[in-house]
């Protein structure tokens, strides 16, 4: 039993020696491992670039987004159609746009003809 204990103690001492006997990496092996690492790492990048390309919005998408997306474009179309409709069939309280377009504007006409400045000022003083 004592003999076996002694043998195990010697073995422990031998393990201790073995622990200090760690191998060194040669420069060539280190370079080969780092080359492998670089090659593998390069395979990650195209994948992420492809992903980035997929995530990059197209010109149309960016234009669509600038207008405010679906709601914005919908509103724009509605407003455009309403404008056309008002132009074609204006409500009775608005002047006829055809008349406005064809009416001649004289340079001699006074745009403030209907206003009486003194009357307006007297209203302010009251």
């Amino acid at each position: 039993m004592a003999e076996q204990d002694k043998a195990l103690k010697e073995l422990d001492a031998l393990f201790q020696t073995a622990r200090t006997d760690q191998p060194d990496l040669s420069d060539g092996l280190m370079a080969a491992i780092l080359d492998d690492a670089t090659r593998v790492q390069d395979t990650f990048r195209p994948t992420s670039m492809e992903g980035a390309a997929l995530r990059q919005p197209s010109l149309w998408s960016r234009f669509f987004a600038t207008l405010g997306g679906g709601f914005g474009v919908g509103g724009l179309i509605t407003a455009g159609l309403a404008g056309i409709w008002i132009g074609v069939a204006p409500p009775s309280f608005l002047p006829d746009p055809v008349d406005l377009a064809t009416a001649s504007v004289s340079l001699d006409s006074d745009p403030f003809d209907g206003f009486d400045l003194s009357e307006l000022m007297s209203e302010d003083l009251q």
Binding site: L11, A18, T20, Q22, P23, I33, D36, A37, T38
Partner: protein, 192 residues
């Protein structure tokens, strides 16, 4: 760059997966010599051990994008791959020869040449005795007594329970002690 040295293996592997070149160098310096040491103890042949270690490091690089930080230790993962590759190699080459001369000499130059020769002879004898053990015992004893991993870590590497690890290492130590006992005189061990 200097902060890279302070990071855990876990964090370095995540950085590597994100394209950091410096992380690969740091991980290699930390892990590759230990992985090579384990492979050499398992195989008894430096050239084969270098191939196995390089293969294991390659697997580490490839696995990096999928690494889940905090779930396991990178070194544990690497030792598991290294030892499994060694076992696979040994299975493939049953009856192959061992190249014990390929194991490097101790690097300590401050000690006497005779002491170094004696250490070399003892380490060769240890390696010789290790190679005579069943492969699972060899794996357990190398990881426990040379790499100083804990029993739970070894259990994770070997995919067995902690008690099975204890049993394997105890049997391995008895086997080694018995194998070395017959060479005590030759190795400079004296009675008393």
């Amino acid at each position: 760059m200097s902060q890279v040295e302070d990071l855990s293996d876990d964090a370095l592997l995540v950085l590597f997966g994100n394209g950091d070149r410096a992380a690969a160098a740091s991980l290699t310096q930390r892990l590759a010599p230990r992985a090579l040491g384990v492979a050499m103890r398992m195989l008894g042949n430096r050239a084969e051990a270098e191939d196995i270690m390089q293969d294991a490091m390659m697997r580490l690089w490839r696995m990096a994008p999928d690494w889940q930080p905090g779930q396991a230790q990178v070194s544990t993962w690497l030792f598991r791959v290294v030892t499994n590759l060694c076992i696979d190699l040994k299975r493939r080459q049953r009856g192959g020869t061992l190249d014990l001369d390929a194991i490097p000499e101790p690097a300590d130059e401050t000690r006497g040449a005779l002491d170094q020769l004696q250490d070399k002879a003892r380490l060769d004898a240890l390696q010789d005795a290790l190679m005579r053990l069943p492969v699972r015992q060899r794996q357990a004893v190398v990881l426990r007594h040379i790499e100083e991993l804990s029993n739970p870590e070894i259990a994770a590497i070997m995919d067995i329970g902690v008690e099975a690890v204890e049993s394997l290492t105890a049997r391995a130590k008895r086997g080694l002690a018995k194998a070395l006992a017959s060479r005590k005189q030759e190795l400079g061990y004296t009675d008393g």
